[in-house]
């Protein structure tokens, strides 16, 4: 009976999440998009205004150097033993920082309209949820799938035959 309830809850939540994400994208387009003006001149994707012409863009070599430095730091931090959870969380945080550097500067997210930024936040939220949402359960439940043990039950006591 609990399995059925769990399944219903999980499927309901997934549907809700997907529909919520779709509604969220629609609301973001409505909120951050510009109103449609049929008389407006057709726009090119990149209109250099005087400020844009003066802007030289990010310093790619500086960002590259920072990324290399963070790679060295990643390797160095892996040598420090903080336990399985600590090392994983730290590795993901450092990787997320490097990824944000790539996304903001190489992919020009920092210079895009807010809509783009918001569009990435939704998968980023799901990313974080899938990573960290399951951790509290699993960190306390060591089980070996290759020995047919299942999570949540007494390890070694209840195995799948």
């Amino acid at each position: 009976m609990e399995l059925l309830t769990t399944m219903v809850v999980v499927i309901g939540l997934s549907f809700g999440a997907v529909i919520g994400a779709a509604v969220g994208i629609c609301l973001l387009c409505i909120g951050f998009g510009t109103p449609y003006d049929p008389k407006a001149p057709v726009k090119k994707w990149f209109e250099p205004s005087p400020e844009d012409a003066a802007q030289t863009g990010p310093n790619y070599v500086l960002i590259f150097g920072t990324l290399l430095l963070m790679t060295v730091i990643t390797v160095a931090l892996s040598r420090v033993n903080l336990g399985a959870t600590g090392n994983t969380v730290l590795a993901v945080l450092v990787a997320a920082f490097k990824a944000s550097l790539v996304a903001l500067f190489f992919m020009h997210l920092k210079y895009e309209k807010r809509l783009m930024f918001a569009l990435i936040l939704i998968p980023a939220f799901f990313f974080a949820a899938l990573f960290f949402g399951l951790l509290p359960d699993l960190v306390t439940n060591h089980y070996n799938p290759e020995k047919n043990e299942r999570p949540g039950f007494g390890v070694g006591l209840d195995t799948v035959k």
């Binding site: 387009c29 409505i30 951050f32 998009g33 510009t34 109103p35 449609y36 407006a40 001149p41 057709v42 726009k43 090119k44 994707w45 990149f46 863009g57 790619y60 590259f64 990324l67 290399l68 790679t71 990643t74 390797v75 892996s78 399985a84 959870t85 090392n87 994983t88 590795a91 993901v92 450092v94 990787a95 990824a99 790539v102 996304a103 190489f106 992919m107 895009e112 309209k113 809509l115 783009m116 569009l119 990435i120 939704i122 998968p123 980023a124 799901f126 990313f127 899938l130 990573f131 399951l134 951790l135 699993l138 960190v139 439940n141 060591h142 089980y143 070996n144 799938p145 290759e146 999570p151």
Partner: protein, 195 residues
Amino acid sequence: MSSAVAPESEYPATRLGVSPMKFGVWLFLASEMMFFTGMLGSYIVLRFAQPQVFHEEAMKLNWALAALNTVILISSSLTMAFAVKKTAENKQPEAAKFLLFTFLLGGLFLVFKSVEYGMKIEHGILPKTNLFFAAYYTLTGCHALHIIGGLIPILNEWRWARQGKLTAEGAELMGLYWHFVDLVWIFLFPLLYLL
């Protein structure tokens, strides 16, 4: 030697406010992000089931080669960013040069990756050996497929740039995909090799 640049794509001033092609590429990247999140998330789940076993298995991987691969991929991201910048400044020959560098660096990544796979396979370590290597081969294999899938359009854009026909938007969209592939590797490298 610079030739006429193809006209920028135009779009009506709709509610979207940004180029529809760029929005489409970002939507595609969001779906790819979920693709890798699913696999990476299940890898994390499996790792926490048996952290000690996974740690010991991970020690069998050559992290130095993977670190070299990381540097190669980040460099290819840098050359791609420069290619986009040069295309926007209407300097097609230099953009072609940087696109070629990006292609070569991406190919070098694949070379080292196959060397790494060879080192494992000749020791008899296959995806079916245990759970860690199943996850390892799946994750790095899917990532390598994404790299191959990105190298072909980059070659095409290099060809266009040499003919002077590359649009700035085309280069930028390719850059978005390539930076995303680099981003995924930035997550894969510590989680597979260093933990």
